[in-house]
């Protein structure tokens, strides 16, 4: 069974009298263990697609199967539970809780999940922090960490619930090129070592090239879906640092 299957997903925003179609028939399959990047210019609909894939939003029409489950029919509470158990998010602006230690930040998703002893959870969180290389920063607050470190805490947080898939929305958008490379390497490592499916949303070809597969989206349609050219991965441009995420079409 495929991890994600989209069939003819359409999304239309209603702005007053005007209907703005953002996604126009997206059909897509993502298998377990893939590392995919979703590329597109601002306003191409890639953020909307990611919100739908991440169960934050639902499609106007079409079907979305996540591990064989039809997601578009679920209520918002069921989707919240699905997000909690199966999906990890990494955001461009990290979104860590301020004035809260790295460890507590990582433990936060567990507040919405039943079961698991506190001690076992704590062990897992520590283990994850070690894996992202911040074992010595457990009690630091976000303001005491660099951008790259904050993003690594965010990655650890997204992994605490052992999700099937990780969505990264412009994960390097606020980072300099050197740190960006580190973060991308970490994604690649997680994908290679732990077979976690990762979907990176970006508008930069250099970053997209780190994935095994690049899906190009433009004006609400998939225009290209091909394996990446590994050579491009080493040519990370400094310009990526100033990148801004594409806004929702409006």
């Amino acid at each position: 069974m495929d991890l994600i299957e989209l069939r003819e997903i359409c999304k239309t925003y209603h702005l007053g009298e005007v209907d703005v179609p953002v996604l126009m028939g997206i059909t897509l399959i993502i298998k377990h263990g893939e590392m995919v990047s979703l590329m597109g210019a601002s306003g191409s609909g890639k953020s909307t697609l990611m919100n739908i894939l991440g169960c934050l939003d639902h499609a106007t029409s079409g079907q979305y199967f996540l591990e064989g489950r039809e997601v578009s029919k679920l209520s918002s509470n069921q989707r919240a539970e699905l997000r909690n158990r199966m999906i990890g998010f990494v955001f461009q602006s990290f979104n860590l809780l301020p004035r809260t230690s790295a460890l507590e930040n990582i433990l936060m998703p567990l507040e919405y999940r039943h079961g698991g002893s506190r001690r076992a959870n704590l062990e897992r969180a520590k283990d994850l922090l070690e894996r992202v290389g911040l074992g010595d920063r457990m009690n630091h607050h976000p303001s005491q960490l660099s951008g790259g470190q904050q993003q690594r805490v965010a990655i650890a947080r997204s992994l605490i619930n052992q999700p099937s898939i990780l969505f990264a929305d412009e994960p390097t958008g606020n980072l300099d090129s050197h740190t960006s490379a580190e973060i991308l390497e970490m994604f690649q490592k997680l994908n290679a070592d732990e077979k976690i499916t990762i979907l990176v949303v970006t508008h930069s070809a250099e970053i997209a090239a780190h994935a095994q597969r690049v899906i190009q989206i433009s004006d609400g349609r998939i225009v290209d879906d091909a394996p990446s050219h590994p050579a491009a991965g080493s040519l990370l441009a400094g310009g990526a640092a100033a990148a801004q995420t594409g806004g929702r079409a409006s």
Partner: protein, 457 residues
């Protein structure tokens, strides 16, 4: 249950993250509750003081009068029966639990003479020292009251009111001086504090109090011992003169006893009846009980059979009692209104700051939702935060309010009373305020769209 505990922990952690904000949040409710507690305590003290003032006017006072005697179909009116005794008074004090204090009264009216001045006081009461307590008049302006011992030995002592001091002594201290009352010399032991006019406009300071035994046996109107001097004058004045339009002294029907005859025939009867018993109930509420207790006790003591009429009457000060009741009801309502207003102010403050807090934490809410929090979880988290804040604020407020009221008590010397009701009420109310005023912001938070919330700047 576990889930709820976890929610509380989440809310605590969220508050702990920003202590300043939490404290500011609390401030509104702290001030609200403190105002309530302080108002209630100071107000209750004031209300107690007012009640005490009114009851010193005699709202708790009951009067027991002897009933009407009748002979041959002719009634002699209230107070003519001679069945009420000082022993009744003692028994009432001893055996009626709702009676705080009782005193006998023997009334007389006469001219007072001091030096070359004279004065007829409004009231001359023969009583016992408990009278001052019944009237809540214990504090003396000068000197001291007479004692139970003076009553036992019919000592010729008295205390006088402010008017007597002014009229008879022209403002000098009367303590230690002697005044004459029907040719008996009374030593003035003390001066009462000013009480002013009573509700009828009668000057209550125009009063002389003496041991009732002295008044009763030494100078009362009924002659218990013949007095040759007055008797002699009455016979000599029996001849009508033009100047004596209204003969005041009774014409003696029988020739007076000579001194020798008097010595041979002492009047054997010493009536121990008193004119009134004045008594104070413990509180205004216990007056009906006290009246029942007195009635049954006196009926028993006077050997009245069932069906026989009472040979006494009990009067209460209904008007005053009503005034007292309505005054305290008014005070209570006033305090309640003030308390409510300050709580609403505190609650609106909480709501405002919670709304600001929701706006400020939009991204956090978005993140929590993306990570798997349901709308309900967010609602509960903010609601618990609000309730915890209000509870903590309520506790702080109770402390602060107690502090304020004891400060008022110490600095302004106002009477304050701890109000357990107010404390219990404010704990309950602070929770309620938290839920009511925390609900709207929490509901707003729970309705946020995670996508918009995450993108909120």
């Amino acid at each position: 249950m576990m889930k709820f505990l976890r929610q509380i922990r989440t809310a605590m952690r969220a508050m702990g993250r920003n202590i300043n904000r939490a404290l500011l949040n609390m401030l509104g409710i702290v001030i609200g509750i403190a105002a309530v507690i302080a108002m209630m305590e100071v107000g209750q003290g004031a209300s107690k003081a007012i009640e005490r003032t009114i009851s010193s006017m005699g709202s708790n006072t009951l009067l027991v009068l002897p009933g009407a005697a009748a002979s041959g179909g002719i009634s002699w009116g209230t107070g003519s029966s001679m069945t009420l005794t000082s022993a009744d008074c003692e028994a009432v004090t001893r055996e009626c639990p709702d009676v705080r204090q009782a005193a006998v009264l023997v009334r007389t009216s006469s001219q007072l003479i001091y030096g070359n001045r004279n004065w007829v006081p409004n009231t001359i009461y023969g009583t016992d020292p408990d009278y001052l307590e019944v009237r809540e008049w214990q504090v003396m302006a000068e000197g001291e009251p007479f004692t139970a011992r003076d009553v036992r030995s019919s000592n010729k002592v008295c205390v006088v009111g402010q008017t007597i001091k002014r009229e008879l002594f022209q403002g000098e201290s009367p303590v230690g001086k002697e005044i004459r009352l029907k040719n008996v010399n009374f030593k003035v032991l003390g001066v009462l504090t000013a009480k002013g006019a009573n509700l009828m406009g009668m000057d209550q300071d125009d009063i002389v109090l003496a041991p009732w035994t002295t008044i009763k046996y030494r100078i009362s109107n009924q002659k218990t011992t013949g007095q040759s001097s007055t008797a002699a004058s009455s016979t000599s004045d029996a001849v009508n003169t033009l100047s004596n339009l209204y003969p005041t002294s009774q014409v003696a029907l029988y020739p007076d006893l000579s001194t020798v005859q008097q010595a041979d025939n002492p009047l054997p009867v010493r009536f121990t009846n008193v004119d009134q018993i004045i008594l104070a109930a413990r509180t205004a509420e216990t007056i009906p009980n006290a009246m029942d207790q007195i009635t049954s006790l006196l009926r028993e003591r006077h050997h009245l059979r069932a069906g026989e009429d009472n040979d006494f009457q009990i009067r209460d000060m209904t008007e005053l009692t009503k005034t007292l009741a309505s005054t305290s009801a008014m005070m209570t309502n006033l305090l309640l209104v003030v308390a409510l207003i300050s709580l609403i102010v505190g609650g609106v403050g909480i709501m405002n700051i919670m709304l600001v807090s929701v706006t400020e934490r939009t991204r956090e809410i978005g993140l929590r939702m993306a990570i798997g929090a349901r709308g309900r979880d967010i609602l509960l988290q903010f609601l618990i935060e609000a309730v915890l804040l209000c509870l903590a604020g309520g506790l702080l407020g109770i402390g602060l309010g107690r502090g304020i009221s004891s400060l008022v008590a110490n600095v302004l010397h106002w009477p304050t009373a701890i109000s357990l009701n107010a404390i219990g009420l404010s704990v309950v109310v602070s929770c309620a305020v938290g839920i009511i005023f925390g609900f709207y912001p929490a509901w707003r938070a729970s309705r946020l769209d995670p996508i918009d919330a995450l993108r909120y700047e």
